[in-house]
Amino acid sequence: MSSASAIAAAAATIERRRRNYARTYLWFVVPAAVAVLGTILFPWAFTFFISAFDWHLGSPREFVGFANYAKLFTDERFGLALLRTLYYTSLAVVFPLGLGLAAALIFNQKFPLRGLARTIFILPMMATPVAVALVWTMMFHPQLGVLNWLLQEIGIPPSMWVYHADSVIPTLVLVEVWHWTPLVMLLLLGGLAALPIDPYEAAKIDGATPFQTFRYITLPLLAPYLVVALIIRTIDALKAFDTIYVITGGGPGSASETINIYLYLQAFAFYNMGYASAVVVVFFALILTLAALLMWTREKVRP
């Protein structure tokens, strides 16, 4: 046997073994894949199926095709919920990103007790949202709440917080900002730690001011991380449910009824399963589109 064919045979064996490995590794994934199929993929398919029925729980279901979707277009309450969701989301993305960036820049410096300060800063993100929402509810109380007392002490007229249609969404966003700015900070802090040092040394030699360094070096290099934070924040803000449900339940009136709240009411207060499923499908399509759009942006900014 020539050495060339021996090498070829050996290579083939290795290749075959590698393919066998690949097949064996698949078995590592199978159990989890089954669980994912059962708890995640099956519900999607089933939701889509139910959305074709007019079905109030307890009464017989009736096939209506796409009628539920058609109804969504003329459902004013759904339209308003959609607008509120977008309003809430835009506020709940912009503020955490801005504050998170500032916080990341600060925590990127070395200072005494930095570890402790960082731990305290990330506590809100880990705290149980429902428990914290209850405390906020007490703080928002117009007469007895501590927040209006604070406002009066510094000479600002008291606010109605979550008890007025105009201020309820910004107030709920305040809670969301408190909860999730730490996550943005962590993501950006990770980004800052990964930045190269050379451009900063060059900037120092060229006599750049701190602001110039930030504007022309840090910000562009950090852009991919900012986009990741933007994506995560957008998705989480669209998904927001716990705090809104606990603090206002969609009120006053329906002034804070976002899609999630509307969806919850349709499904589990009115037991209107078919229609609620149509809402789920449209809502999910919206989230996927936004996420895809943002991921596309991310490919663009990648250096």
Partner: protein
């Protein structure tokens, strides 16, 4: 002079950053340690004098608080345990096969709002007659814990050098043995991170239990929310209950902040 001013400004901005977190938790503690008269006083009473544990006693005395605490423990531990059992091998397999598409699928689970699983699962559990037990809650919590575990484990296994396992394979170990006795011990820090994160997010979860739980199967977040809705609101016991619910995760965060930061950064940055 300018340097001192700069330092002072920096110290003030650090304080400003951490004060919202400190103030909310301290106010929570203060409310839970005061009697009802002080809690509704205006201007507010900040420091409880004398502090009272009466609110805590009241929480434990009523509301089946201990039952709900036990439910929460069972749900979070089971959901985390099952997720580790399924998710650690899956993370390993995906990392070894470089199956980015499978990883992407798990990412979509992160994107999907929890409510959108609930309609079909709610109907299914009704048909199966499982409502009124903790099983549906544990199963739905897998929707949260499993993606966390898989995601954290992928990034950990990808970071491990492959040479040791290859050496084991050359020496005649099966792939399973290489995973079990070489890769898994090396990935123990990753497993710890995955375990902590999935426990915390399962413990905090509200949306699944609020729909699926019956009277006997409420988890703590649902029970605490019911205190607000269905009873005459008394701020002291409510704050005490809220603090008891969130205390375990806060303590865990303080103890394991390094792991949590590592996990969230890895999961988050690679996660999108």
């Amino acid at each position: 002079m300018k340097r001192i001013l700069g330092k002072l400004g920096f110290a003030i901005s650090v304080l400003l950053l951490i004060s919202p977190a400190i103030m909310i938790f301290l106010w929570m503690l203060s409310l839970s340690l005061k009697n009802e008269l002080d809690n509704t006083a205006y201007p507010p009473v900040f420091i409880p004098s004398p502090p009272t544990l009466g609110n805590y006693a009241e929480v434990f005395a009523r509301n089946d608080f201990l039952l709900y605490a036990w439910n929460s423990v069972v749900v979070s531990f089971s959901a985390t345990g099952i997720a580790l059992l399924l998710g650690v091998p899956a993370g390993y397999g995906i990392a070894k096969m470089r199956a980015t598409r499978l990883a992407g699928l798990i990412l979509i689970a992160r994107i999907t709002p929890g409510l959108s699983y609930l309609i079909p699962l709610f109907l299914m559990f009704q048909w199966l007659g499982l409502t009124g037990t903790l099983v549906p809650i544990v199963i739905t919590h897998l929707v949260i814990t499993l993606p966390i575990v898989v995601w954290v484990m992928i990034s950990f296994f990808e970071g491990l050098p492959g040479e040791l396992e290859e050496a084991a394979l050359v020496d005649g170990a099966t792939i399973w043995q290489a995973f079990r006795h070489v890769a898994m011990p090396l990935a123990r820090p990753g497993i710890t991170v995955a375990c902590i994160l999935s426990f915390i997010f399962s413990w905090n979860n509200f949306i699944f239990a609020v729909v699926l739980a019956g009277r006997e199967t409420r988890t703590l977040p649902v029970a605490v929310n019911n205190m607000l809705t269905f009873e005459q609101i008394s701020w002291g016991p409510l704050s005490a209950a809220a603090l008891l619910v969130t205390a375990p995760v806060l303590i865990l965060t303080l103890l394991a902040q390094k792991q949590i930061v590592a996990g969230l950064t890895a999961g988050g940055v690679k996660g999108a």
